[in-house]
Structures are given as C-alpha cells and as structure tokens.
C-alpha cells in the first residue's frame, strides 16, 4: 500500500506509472501484456484456450459461509453455511478465527475440503478438473488463508488455476458504479474500502471489530438475560436474521410497536421477550454507540465514525464522489433498517445543522462541502459481490473469446490488453489486483512461489 497519502490524484498517477514499470521490467503473471508471460495471463491463455471455454467457478469464501456458482449466472448456485455436519466432523461454526494463532491451518484444510466437496458435487454438479477458480477476497484476508484455499483447490479439486479478486470491487461492479465506499459488515470484522474509478484505495481501508460475531455474542447474552436459557448458536443466528430490525433515529414510528412482546422458541419452549430490548437495542448498542467515555480502541470504532474517519483519510476530490456512493454489503447489512440508520448517523456526523453542538470532532474535516446538504449522502444498492464477480468475469471472458474469434488472432488481443486502458479493462490489468492466476503446477512444486505469490506487497520479481 505505498504512496497514496495526500492528494489522491497524484498518487494514482504515480501508482499507474509504478504499475507500468513493473509490467515492463518483469515477467510475472501480473502482466497480461508482456509477451513472455502472456500464456499465464489471468483471463486468456492461448495455449489453454480450450479450457477457457468453460466458465470459471466463482467462490465467495467467508468466515461463516461459502457462496459458489459459475461465472455468468445471476446469483450463486448455493450458499452453504459453515456448521456442524451430519457426520460430526465439523465442530465449529466459523472457518477461521480472526486471530490466526487460534486457527489451525490443517483444520481449515479439512473443513474447506469437506464443504467444497459438497459444493462441487451436490450443488455445482461438476468436477473442478478443467475449471479455473476465482476467489473473492476481503482486503483484510490473511495470506495463510489465501494459501490454504489455493492448497485445497489444487490438491483435492485439481483446479487449473486460482485467481483472487477483491470482494469490494465485486460489490461495486454489481451496483453498476465505478466509485464507491464499500462497507462490508461481515462476521469477524466490518471493513470499509473506498474505490475510486475502479481502483481500490487500500491505504484508506479501515476495519472495526464491531461486526457479526460481536452482535452474536451480545444477542446471545441478551436472550439469556430475558429467558434464562442459554440459546444455541443457531437459535441466536436465526433470531438475528429473522427478528432483528433497526429503528430510525426518531422513534415516532416504532414507539408503538416496541411495547409488544415477541414470541421465540428456545430449545422447545416458547418465551415471550420484550421487543425493544432484544430486537433493536443491541444493534444500536453494537454498531452505533460509542464507548462510554469515548475511548474506543483503534479497531473498535462504531461504524458511522469509521466511515467518517475513512472519508477524512481520502483526498478532497475522491471524498465528494464517495459520499453519494456508500454501499453496504455483508451479512448484517440485510438487517432491515440498519443501513438506513448508519446512513442517518453519518449524515449527522458530517452535516452541520442548527443543533451542531453534539456532533463529533471529526466534523471539522468536512466543513467545506457538506453544509446543509444532507441528501448528498446516499447509499446505493448492489446485487452482491458474487454477482459482481460473475458479471465481470463472464463479460471479460466473452470479450476475449469473441475478440479472438473475430479473426484478429491472438496478436490483436495481445495488443489490446495493455492498451485497453480505460474503464473496466484497465482495472483488470492493474487496479483490480487480479493477481494473475496462481497456477497449479507451480504452486504445488515451487515452495517459494507458493509462499510468496499471495503477498502482493512483495515486488513481482520475487514472486
């Protein structure tokens, strides 16, 4: 994540030049244009054209579940949650722990191969042999995990290659935008990734631990307090997904309903619990409220504050366009009203109004361009990261296949690739960080390659 402090325009330019230089000087798989490595370009290899007629498999591997499908589909074929299986082999509900010291990589291998086996043979109905795989990765995904995923796919499913694509990019593409502030409220972490003109500004990426896992623990405690029963993992998850909602800031609409009791069933018995305390207060407490004495740890900011601080870390010109392009994705963003409430809070933080006394300190960074214009801050909808990846991959594939088929030959494509600088194709070469593909034979045979290929901070010539 080098050289993007200060003004974004300059840094983008510098970055672009750096990328170009790297493309010229090295023969790594990241350079789709350089002829020596063209055969290993991520999206078209003339030698393996035949294999490329098969659309790749796209996997969105999260801590709590895996979405899988084939490129070109609207929605993933299946969404498999991670949890105890019928054979009693899987005992956890998460694929990995945020603290990698608590995660055994062998265990990740075991679980992943078992679940992917189900996905391939019961849902996708194909064997991985002649397929390339595209993995959607969170910007914060650890290298160990990326390696583990590639390992399982190469070892047990004979995938030809594995390509990683940033998940926020996918979400943004599925929204039809080219600039977005992607807020991914996931299980372990909430990650905010600004993307400007198809380029993720990874130096400004922020994350907080206020995410699904915290919410789960909090709801679990709340339910126990009101029923005296310790709810099971699945019961809590069901409750969060089916019963929780977030109220707008002015409670006039929901004051009436929050008095009602709510019926839930825990381990066979029905309990009536107060609506307000259990169904929306935990959300506010977890995602929106600051710590008592306003001393949240650096990885523990409430989401609205994090959005504001992320924006303040951006250049002036990028900020403005981000404001009307906030995109909420991730499991918890499906909770009704939550995104709206976060948006409201962000507006309250950024926009100075008459009662500006209680706004937070961060506001001063934003004075020049937000006075009185609350409606500028808007959220956009997306079909989800998986669909975005599907769109992009299928479009790119079609484009390349057609281009080659039109008689221009591979030379035309070769010429086209680095030249297709504008728009989406450009992003394919550099900013999307589709890191070239990780190839099976190389990965399994060359240990240095396997260790370093995922670390994109290592200069390409060492990879």
């Amino acid at each position: 994540m080098a050289n993007s402090d200060g003004d974004t325009g300059t840094s983008e330019l510098l970055r672009g030049i750096a990328v170009l230089r790297r493309q010229l000087s090295s023969s790594s798989p990241t350079t789709p244009g350089a002829s020596p490595s063209f055969a290993s370009s991520p999206l078209l290899s003339p030698t393996t054209r035949q294999q490329y007629t098969d659309p790749p498999v796209i996997l969105d591997i999260g801590a709590r579940g895996i979405r899988a499908g084939i490129a070109g589909m609207e929605r993933p074929v299946c969404e498999i949650p991670i949890g105890p299986d019928l054979r009693g082999r899987i005992k956890t509900h998460v694929l990995w722990d945020l603290d990698t010291r608590n995660t055994s990589i062998e265990h990740v291998h075991d679980i992943l191969q078992a679940i992917l086996r189900d996905i391939y043979y019961k849902h996708l109905l194909l064997d991985g042999k002649s397929r390339k795989v595209v993995i959607l990765e969170n910007p914060m995904m650890t290298l160990q995990l990326k390696k583990a995923i590639a390992f399982v796919l190469f070892n047990y499913f004979q995938s030809i290659s594995v390509t990683y694509m940033l998940s926020p990019i996918g979400s943004m593409l599925a929204a039809g935008a080219r600039t977005a502030l992607v807020v991914d409220i996931g299980w372990h972490e909430t990650t905010i990734t600004p993307i400007f003109d198809y380029k993720p500004i990874l130096s400004a990426t922020r994350s907080t631990l206020r995410a699904g896992k915290r919410l789960h623990d909090l709801v679990s405690r709340t339910l126990k307090a009101s029923t005296d029963v310790i709810p099971s993992f699945d019961e809590v998850e069901e409750f969060i997904a089916r019963a929780m909602y977030c109220t707008p800031i002015d409670l006039s609409t929901s004051a009436r309903t929050s008095q009602q009791a709510f019926a839930i069933t825990l381990s066979g018995n029905t309990y009536y619990i107060p609506s307000a305390e259990t169904r929306h207060k935990p959300l506010v407490q977890l995602f929106l409220q600051r710590a008592e004495d306003n001393v949240d740890d650096i990885d523990d900011f409430p989401i609205p504050d994090l959005i504001v601080s992320c924006l303040s870390g951006l250049g002036i010109d990028t900020r403005a366009s981000m404001l009307s392009r906030i995109l909420f994705v991730g499991g918890c963003s499906n909770i009704p009203g939550l995104t709206l409430r976060i948006l409201e809070e962000v507006r309250n933080c950024l926009v100075r109004d008459s009662a500006g006394g209680d706004s937070i300190d961060l506001q001063k960074n934003f004075r020049p361009w937000t006075i009185g214009d609350r409606s500028r801050i808007k959220a956009i909808t997306s079909l989800g990261a998986w669909s975005g990846a599907s769109l992009y991959i299928s479009r790119e594939r079609e484009h390349l296949l057609n281009g080659a088929g039109a008689g221009a030959g591979s030379g035309a494509i070769r010429r086209l690739r680095p030249e297709a600088a504008s728009g989406i194709s450009h992003t394919a070469s550099s900013s999307f960080r589709i890191l070239g593909e990780v190839e099976r034979d190389k990965f399994l045979l060359d240990k240095t390659y396997a260790d370093n290929i995922f670390d994109w901070t290592i200069s390409t010539k060492y990879r």
Binding site: R87, D110, T247, G337, I380, S387, R395, G423, H426
Partner: protein
C-alpha cells in the same frame, strides 16, 4: 449433537498426513517392516499415526475404496472424481450422460445454453419450501364449470403445505413444466413487490451485463481510433510514452499558471488537459468518460429510504419468529430470497451426480458408473415428458472397487462375563473403571486366498490410558471360496454367542479356558473364512472418557498375478509354467474401535 451409536468401527486413511500426491502414502513405515509373526514385539514400539484422532481421517468401511494397483485404501480425499451423469432424484430423468469412455467433462455438453437452470430439474419436480420434501400435484375440482382449463395445485405430503393457501394462492394453469411457471412467478414477484428496495436480480443483472458490454465496446472502438492517430514510439510502449507526455505537459502547464498570464497556447485548453489526463490516468478520452458517466447513472440505484422504513415498521409489528422463514428456507430458494413465511414459492429440485473415481496416485479407475441409459416408455400421464419415452438413470456400476471386498471386515461382540455389574452390554450402559471386559473381534476374509492377519494395538489407549490386551495378535483366516459363506458364518456365530449369553459364566469360562490354552490361544472360534479372537479392556478411571481402541490390522496373502513376460530373465525363475505368478502381498491399515464411554 447426535449421540454416537456404539460400537463403531472407523478406518483411518493416512492421506491427510503431509499431503503428497498419494505416491508415498503407503501404510505406516514402522509396522510394515518385519514378518507378521513378530506382532507382539511390534506393539511395544508401535507408533500411532498423528491424525488418528482427526475425524476427517476416519471413515466408515463402506465409504472407502481399494486401489488394487497401489494396494492401499482410498478415501474420498485421495480419489479424483469426475462427474459422468446428472439426474433428477425425483423423476430419475438423466440430464447429461457421458457415453464416451474418455475423461472429458460430460456435464459441459448439456450445461451449455441452460444457464442458471443447469443444476435443477426443469420438469415437474418441485419441493416444499418449508420442509423440502417432494410436492404432489393435484387437479382442482372443476367447480366453476367444465370449460375451465385444467388447473393444478401442489401439496406437501409431509407438512401439508398447500400452494393454494399461500398469500398468492398459487394455482398453476398448466400441469406441465411447472418449473418454468415457478421461475416466471419468482421473477415477476420481485417486480410487483413494492417492498423490494431494488429491481429483481434478473432484470438488473441483465441491465448491468448490457451496460458493461457497451462499456467494453466503447473501449474497443476508442482503442482502434487512438491506434491510428498515435505516433509510433519504438522505445516505449504507448502507455508509458503517454504518461511521460502527461508529466511533461503538466509541468509546462503548471509553470505557465504560476507565471504572468500570457496568451494561452492553443494546446492548453481545459479539454486538452482533461484529454491528456484521461489518457494517462486510466480513461481513454473524455468522450468515453462522459459516455460512461451517463451510462453509470442509468445503472446505479439508490436505497429506497421510504420502502426501507416501511419494512422496518412491518418488522416492528411482528410478534413471533414464525412469521419469517428460517435461514435454511431462505437459502434454499435459488431465485428469490423469501421474506415472509406465508409467501413462499415451491423450490426446484436439485439434480444429483453419478461420478467416476480414480486413485489419486496411479489414476487407476476405482469406480465407474454404468451410464448406458435405458429408454423407458412412460405410461402414466403425470410425468408429462416431451416425448412418450424418457431415459432414466441406471444404478449399476461397471467398476466398483469397494474396500469391503478387499480387506477383512471387522465385527465386535461383547462377551458377558462373571460379575453382575457387567451383565448388561457396555455399549449403552457404559464402562466401569478397573473391571476387565472381554470382547470377541471377528474378522471375515472377503478374498479368495487365505490370509495371515496380524493385529496390533498400543497397550494403553493414547488419550485416556485404558489398557488393552489382545491374546492372539497373529492368526490365519481361510479363503472365501464357497458361495454360502455368508449364511454359514453368520448362523454359526449367532449360535455361538447365543449359547454364551444363555449359559453365561460357566460357558464363557469354559470357552475362554480352551481359548487360553492349547494351540488356539486366544481364538474363540473360527469358521471357513472368519476367525474370532478375544481381546480385553480394562478401562482407566477417567470419567466419561470415550473408550477408543486404535487397532492396526495387517494381513498378508499370496496373490496370483499375471506373469510379466516382458522381463525375460525373471520368467524362468517361477516354478510352474502357468500364466500366473505367485506374489506375496501385504496390506495394512489403522482402524479405531469406538466401544463406549466410561461411567464413574
């Protein structure tokens, strides 16, 4: 968590230990050395495989295969699978079949052009959205008059979900291709439903797809134009020269800005700056950019805040969890995520696969389904297929190297013993510490050759220290030649154990007396292709610890293999002049006997 049913036999597959490509995943090195007769000595320095307690490495005998080239058991992880056929589990219709023996991917053939439908049965097979059982189709009674076209509704025979009693009161106009009708409905609903905050994926996905296609095209034409206009640069690629040009241009531009206002040179106009900037910064030119901007506005949709608030107030009015579908019900629908329990559509049925399996080490085929589809003419009108006949899935296999045909099958029987505390079987009742329990372990030989078996186990279980004693670590089992071996073995065994149970103490002591002395030391009984041996367990005093016995089974036999005439000198060595050579084979594996729990 399900309770484990004891006794349980699991066979360990060592493939997960430092994963190689299967080549050197042979059985454990320390135990294969030496002749089978030294089994007792081996137990002293028996090394357990490191993954013996990993549940992913333990398999039921039925789920294992045996590679008869490598002579190793193969589990699901050390086979390579190929999909040869997909079929609907409800109507058994075959959707794709690989008739050629080649290993090319067969599912591709029919997947083409089927898009999202490729994994579903596109006929009449639908599932209940609540409990996922197959729905049954019923015709509505023609109460409104006979001229009304035939209409059908669906009902679940398990949870009595009825398509007529949903919010939409679903009644289908045709009794054929229900899948397509449901598909259409789910696409329609998303548009109709006001509470949906955005377009249905179907439409907006299509729109986005189109949008990106146009973007690609515009890029392409732009590139074609710029190619002709740009001057050739031998040293650098075009983009590099462009960025250098940009830097030079900007330098001059800003230096001019700083100085006194001179007459602007014709080159420096806002549009030219933008143009150069755009070229270097990733956008080809302004026109493309504007075009894209315009297009972008068309595709981006904002969150509908009113609808969202309405949704929240609807959620607030809910009084019970039952009003929303469960997570598994929500995930099950591949087209639309249902939001209300009362408004769910029937689910399509997922196809299943028949797969060929190969050994990962030698690529030898272990399983090959018979895919020759049979044409079955359908007489019933219920399955309204396209033609009068349909191909249904076959159940036979051409090759199926199941492990149970290659390695001895193990069976554990409890031998009731002297003290009254032990009279009930310890599988359910649990073990009492410090009491000796006797079990009979019966091994059946599925091979046509007699085998020499060696059993080995550590003297104490690794986790809890229950002590284990095998009286006979090494013994022979006869060949499995006669056809009625099954019946004979089972009836004989049954009689034996029934006797033991009835007469209890006296008999068992007598039989174990005979087992403890003489030439058949430790052998309880033996049949033509089976042998029962006694082993004893003394549980340690560890509350509710599981009694798991790691057991190493190794067996050797002489197999007849086809003579290798290629290597000239060797053929002369064999004693007989037949086509077959005798070859000593040894196969070994680890297994885990889960017998029960210790009660305190």
């Amino acid at each position: 968590m399900m309770a484990t049913r004891y006794p349980l036999l699991r066979i360990h597959c060592p493939c997960a230990e430092p994963i190689t490509d299967g080549q050197d995943n042979e059985v454990e090195a320390p135990t294969t050395s030496g002749s089978p007769d030294t089994g007792l000595d081996k137990t002293a320095n028996l090394e357990l495989p490191p993954t013996i307690d990993n549940p992913f490495a333990l398999h039921a005998l039925n789920s294992l295969y045996f590679c008869d080239v490598c002579l190793v058991l193969r589990c699901e992880r050390c086979v390579v699978e190929e999909v040869v056929q997909t079929y609907c589990p409800a109507c058994l219709h075959v959707y794709s079949a690989d008739t050629t023996a080649a290993g090319n991917e067969p599912s591709r053939v029919t997947r083409k052009g089927r898009g999202d439908d490729a994994t579903f049965c596109t006929r009449n097979c639908l599932q209940c959205p609540l409990c996922f059982t197959s729905l049954t189709m019923f015709a509505t009674t023609a109460s409104e008059g006979s001229e009304v076209p035939a209409t059908v509704y669906l009902q679940c025979s398990h949870c009595s979900w009825d398509s007529r009693h949903t919010d939409r009161s679903l009644i289908f106009s045709k009794h054929s291709s229900l899948y397509q009708q449901v598909r259409k409905l789910s696409a329609q609903r998303a548009i109709d439903d006001e509470s949906e905050t955005h377009d249905t994926p179907a439409t907006s996905f299509g729109a986005l797809s189109q949008f990106y296609q146009r973007l690609y095209e515009s890029v392409e034409t732009e590139e074609a134009e710029s190619d002709t206009s740009a001057p050739p640069s031998p040293m650098f690629s075009k983009r590099v020269s462009r960025s250098l040009e940009t830097i030079r241009f900007l330098k001059s531009h800003y230096s001019k800005q700083g100085g006194p206002l001179s007459t602007p040179s014709p080159a420096i106009t806002p549009s030219s700056v933008l143009g150069v900037l755009g070229r270097a910064g990733g956008v080809s030119n302004q026109k493309t950019r504007e075009h894209a901007e315009k297009e972008k506005e068309r595709c981006v949709s904002y969150i509908d805040e009113e609808a969202e608030i309405e949704k929240v107030s609807r959620m607030g009015g809910m009084t019970s969890l039952d009003e929303t579908p469960t997570l598994s019900q929500q995930r099950a629908n591949p087209f639309v995520r249902p939001t209300r329990s009362s408004d769910m559509l029937p689910l399509p049925t997922r196809l299943r696969t028949r797969r060929a399996k190969r050994c990962r080490a030698c690529r030898h085929i272990l399983v090959r389904p018979d895919v020759s589809s049979r044409k079955v003419s359908t007489s019933s009108s219920a399955s309204a297929s396209v033609a009068g006949s349909t191909s249904t899935v076959a159940t036979a296999f051409r090759i199926n190297l199941l492990s149970k045909n290659y390695i001895p099958t193990l069976r554990l029987t409890y031998l009731p013993a002297t003290s009254p505390a032990q009279s009930s079987s310890p599988y359910q009742a649990g073990f009492i510490p410090h009491i000796t329990y006797s079990f009979a372990l019966t091994l059946f030989n599925p091979l046509y050759e007699p085998i020499k078996v060696t059993l080995a186990s550590p003297p104490r279980t690794p986790k809890h220290g229950h002590s284990i004693t095998f009286l006979t670590p090494s013994f022979d089992i006869g060949a499995n030649i006669e056809d009625d071996w099954d019946l004979q073995a089972v009836t004989s065994l049954r009689r034996k154990f029934a006797d033991l149970k009835m007469s209890g103490i006296a008999n068992i002591s007598a039989s174990s007396e005979s087992a403890r002395t003489g030439p058949n030391l430790g052998i309880l009984d033996r049949g033509r292709n089976w042998t029962s041996v006694i082993f004893e367990i003394v549980p340690a005093n560890e509350r509710s610890s599981e009694v798991e016995v790691p057991l190493f089974v190794s067996f050797a036999y002489e197999a007849e293999v086809e003579k290798d005439f290629g290597s000239g000198g060797r053929s002369g060595e064999s004693a007989d002049d037949g086509l077959f050579d005798k070859e000593q084979r040894e196969v070994a594996f680890w297994s885990v006997l889960k017998i029960g729990r210790v009660i305190a």
